[in-house]
């Protein structure tokens, strides 16, 4: 277990290595017996004058659901929005068919040589 203590805007580990950050940063680090370090990072952010904070570019473009669980406490979860008229596409068979179809299309160039013949064949069938 590494122990951290603070001095102003710097955090120091007991082995003398400095972990310093421009903004205040709190790290809780625990070490397993196999020496795999797992860091649980809590980042303190400042809400801007327009009421916004940033989650970084990793989540850019994602939609989120924000629940205010109590004043000043929010749960933020990424969500995938499915329009009502696309629900049909999100069944197992429709998804499977679409994935297979896209894979086939990616591997075969577009071609309309047999289009008229295909239409005639499918009309007769």
């Amino acid at each position: 277990m590494r122990t951290f203590f603070t001095s102003g805007s710097h955090f120091w580990s007991v082995d003398g290595q400095s972990v310093s950050w421009g903004a205040s940063f709190c790290a809780i680090v625990h070490a397993c017996s196999s020496a795999v370090m797992e860091a649980i990072m809590q980042d303190v952010k400042t809400i801007g004058s327009n009421g916004q904070i940033s989650f970084g570019k990793r989540y850019a473009g994602r939609q989120v659901c924000v629940e205010e669980q109590e004043p000043g406490v929010w749960l933020v979860r990424t969500v995938t929005v499915i329009p009502d008229n696309e629900l049909w596409l999100n069944t197992p068979k429709a998804q499977s068919d679409l994935q297979h179809a896209m894979a086939w299309a990616s591997a075969h160039p577009a071609d309309d040589t047999d289009t008229q013949h295909a239409l005639d064949q499918m009309t007769r069938g």
């Binding site: 049909w88 679409l98 179809a101 896209m102 086939w104 289009t115 295909a118």
Partner: protein, 103 residues
């Protein structure tokens, strides 16, 4: 955009889905395909019967910009995408009652 549409119906999944339709529906779908064969891309985009719509809930693979759905019969949609002048069909909806949220 007066580019004529070129139909690519070769996808085996699309053909299987189409042939699995009840005969009256299959003929209705084939009539739609024959109609599209004489359209330009601009007409496809604007046609109130086809209702060409971008699919938001499925991410296309690399090399395909976006997947779209269009109405192929009165109550059933198909998926497709544009590849140059080609309209490449991918699948047909398996259950027409679900297509418009009736189930």
């Amino acid at each position: 955009m007066g580019d004529p549409v070129r139909l690519d119906l070769n996808n085996p999944v699309f053909q299987e889905n189409l042939l699995a339709l009840p005969k009256p529906e299959r003929h209705s779908a084939l009539e739609t395909l024959r109609k599209i064969l004489h359209m330009t891309w601009d007409q496809v985009y604007r046609d109130k019967g086809l209702r060409w719509e971008k699919i938001l809930s499925v991410a296309p693979p690399k090399g395909i910009a976006a997947i779209y759905s269009l109405r192929i019969t009165q109550s059933r949609r198909a998926t497709a995408y544009r590849d140059g002048d080609y309209l490449r069909f991918l699948t047909v909806a398996p259950d027409h009652d679900a297509t418009y949220g009736k189930k």
